[in-house]
Symmetry: C2
């Protein structure tokens, strides 16, 4: 079954201690789509400007990502300029040019409206709500957000979260949304807002998944080369929801496996700039790393 993603396509300029790149392919919908494409069909809704390189379109098409929902309009593509220090967990935004993304008013093509799995990448929650009005009865709505919307559009965000099945946010966002320093308490209060599942992304410390019944802790993969963490969270979400769309398994065990597949995909994404590592990845490499995650975390019962 196809996964529908609504989010950004961007040209990123990034500086890390390991290098500097200009106007490379980025954006939440891009990272999500490519990661999800290893597991499921992907329907992408987004917008780019006339300057968006055709080679990026070709790359997405090669991954069998359905681009009937991608609009190309007059103007420039969304640009982001960011910088990371040796602590690769926190990006410093140097410049954001929304450009054509500023007036993004997603139209969901008829062919996409029966999507069973929907990912609302980090965009204005009012737009996320408009997307939800256009889709019929999805089985799973997953959603991301950021501090800016928590601080500036809290009411709309709460509306979105109420309709969300799986909220995927980072640790600081969790605390800020719940107004609570303790993560366990924060999660309980966020689950009370509607979602059945909350996944907290913790960067190079992994991810925590909270449901009403259980907590699952997934590590990050210890990497010898972390080049660029941009897009790791969206890549995680893509692997996670792509796997679920393929397995249709929403049982605790299946969702835990999906968290590991998400972590696997994120661990590859950060090994190179942009989607460079994801674009050459094979499914057997994904399975191999999944097994490495198992070895990494296994210990005997007592």
């Amino acid at each position: 079954m196809a996964v529908l993603v609504v989010g950004s396509l961007a040209l990123d300029s990034i500086e890390t201690p390991f290098g500097k790149v200009a106007e490379i392919l980025g954006g939440s919908a891009v990272y999500f789509s490519i990661a999800a494409s290893f597991f499921a069909e992907v329907n992408l809704v987004g917008v780019v400007g006339k300057d968006f390189p055709q080679e990026h379109i070709r790359l997405l098409q090669e991954k069998n990502i359905d681009l009937r929902g991608l609009r190309r309009v007059d103007g420039k593509t969304f640009r982001w300029v960011g910088k990371y220090g040796y602590n690769l967990n926190d990006a410093q935004t140097l410049d954001t040019r929304l450009n054509v993304f500023e007036d993004f008013n997603p139209h969901i093509p008829d062919e996409y409206r029966n999507a069973e799995y929907v990912f609302l990448a980090n965009i204005d929650p009012e737009i996320q709500l408009r997307v939800l009005k256009q889709v019929h009865q999805p089985r799973v709505i997953a959603c991301d957000t950021m501090n800016f919307w928590i601080e500036n559009k809290l009411e709309a965000l709460k509306e979105t979260i109420k309709k969300t099945d799986i909220l995927i946010i980072n640790e600081a966002e969790t605390r800020e949304l719940a107004k609570e320093a303790n993560l366990v308490k924060a999660c309980r209060s966020i689950l009370a807002m509607g979602p059945k599942t909350l996944i907290i992304k913790q960067g190079n410390y992994g991810a925590l998944m909270f449901t009403r019944k259980a907590i699952f802790s997934a590590p990050a993969f210890p990497l010898e080369e972390t080049i660029d963490p941009t897009g790791a969270g969206d890549t995680f979400a893509g692997g996670f929801l792509g796997y679920i769309a393929n397995s249709h398994n929403l049982q605790e065990g299946g969702v835990r496996q999906a968290v590991i597949f998400g972590s696997v995909m994120a661990s590859f994404a950060v090994e190179q700039f942009s989607i460079n590592r994801l674009s050459t990845l094979t499914y057997s490499e994904i399975e191999e790393r999944y097994k490495e995650f198992k070895k990494l975390t296994f210990f005997e019962d007592i």
Copy 2:
């Protein structure tokens, strides 16, 4: 088989967002000993002043901790004053009074010298070396240190580390000791200094264990109440080495279980100030939480 620990006994004054306490029982040897006492006999070497409350001595005795190596000398007991913010991972030291600990020159009683398991808590590496000269052929030497010794006594510290089997330090210390930001690379360079095993304590993110062959990632237990993280690292080390001293199992699988027991003990320690939670703990609670760790991390193979 007994575990020998050489470290501090202290009276701590601590402020956290959850409370403020003055002159409570603390110190690396105290946390370590009480945690280890659930698994093995403990021989403690340390020093206190005349002002050290007799009730603390009684508590250690009740835990069957052998105190023949504890000296009580003229002067005041070591005092530490610290403060934590909502991010309970980083302590801010407000005051340190070494007092009688300043001239600590540990004498290992004859009865302790055949110890098979030795823990050198965080003290001057020159003193750690003096301890090692007094013990015969221990099977396992485990060791902790801190940034101060990395910056001020690096040569002596490297001597100690060379003789150490299991180095147990935190993430910042790992990077600083190896002069390397990437943890995997840092670990490889530290293992080249001598230790067979490196355990990196990551506070509320858990612990990573590196050997020449494998990496093991253990989560922290998600707690609804973290009251005071003081002593969590030493408690971890106590549970870890205590379990190994009891099992005698230095195989990969056994050491992984020890890491989980260490994490279990640390998860209890932080639930209350001082050793208050550890002092009422039962072994069946420890086993229960070990099983919770298993549930927390389990996912199916593919």
